[in-house]
């Protein structure tokens, strides 16, 4: 986490000078301390097994591809039949256990246009879909399968 803050500082300050590095070190150390003590963040998220990092990269690549596809689909709905849609609210149970993975799943669902996560309650998610075909198979998406695998490797560790 310290390294992440330091890199962010260097990127935003726009150059590697002694002045920027010294201030960056001080501010990153302070922020790392604040995040771990006061906010209780777990810095191990960022330095896991290489296989887990690779799985995360694959997940985000898949997410971006799905976001673009869903965006084009919603654009088509906007131009072709905006009044003939059948919006739907779907409750479904997710097998994911940890809050972190549930949050990732619901964020991914919200980021893909056409579906928005409305509520999460007792291991169930409420999702609003713009059109009924967009809600098909929402309870077992590729996102969920990938996250389940990632969660599985985490439990084993």
């Amino acid at each position: 986490m310290f390294l992440l803050f330091f890199l962010l500082w260097l990127l935003l300050s726009g150059g590697v000078s002694l002045h920027a590095c010294l201030w960056g070190l001080a501010v990153s150390a302070l922020l790392t301390w604040f995040c771990r003590r006061v906010l209780g963040y777990d810095w191990r998220i960022f330095c896991g097994h290489p296989a887990r990092i690779w799985a995360l990269i694959r997940y985000f690549a898949h997410l971006v591809a799905e976001m673009l596809k869903a965006g084009l689909m919603v654009m088509k709905i906007i131009y072709v039949h905006p009044k003939k849609i059948t919006p739907k609210l779907v409750w479904f149970r997710t097998p994911l256990q940890t809050d972190r993975h549930k949050a990732m799943l619901s964020d991914s669902i919200t980021l893909t246009a056409g579906t928005i996560t409305v509520r999460s309650q007792d291991g169930r998610l409420l999702v609003h879909a713009l059109d009924a075909p967009l809600a098909e198979g929402i309870e077992d998406t590729a996102f969920q399968q990938q996250l389940e695998k990632m969660e599985g490797t985490q439990w084993r560790r």
């Binding site: 962010l8 990127l11 935003l12 726009g14 971006v64 976001m67 673009l68 869903a70 965006g71 084009l72 919603v74 654009m75 906007i78 131009y79 905006p82 009044k83 849609i85 059948t86 919006p87 739907k88 609210l89 779907v90 409750w91 479904f92 149970r93 619901s106 964020d107 919200t110 980021l111 893909t112 246009a113 056409g114 579906t115 928005i116 996560t117 409305v118 509520r119 409420l126 609003h128 713009l130 809600a135 929402i138 309870e139």
Partner: protein, 107 residues
Amino acid sequence: MIEHLATGAGLAFFLFGLFVFFSAVLGLFRFDYVLNRMHAAAVGDSLGIFCVLIGLMLLHGWSLSAAKTLLIFVFLWLTSPVASHLVAEMEVATVPDIHKECEVEER
């Protein structure tokens, strides 16, 4: 040659991004209920932002500003689902007869 190609691709991405934003605004007017309108706005958030920022990165070339553009991606895509989730949750929580607006299904 490669510079020309990058400029052309950047312009194409940028213009398509503008078109996506136009569609998103049009969608806001064409859909008739707040939850449906949010999907139109989400198109601008995901596809529109992606095309515009990729276009800018291609136009500027790989530099510090391109790296900062990547940061904009990260922060926008972290914050926008949270905001839309909160708006949607507020709408569903405060409308007593949500069944009239859209079908509710249990799976």
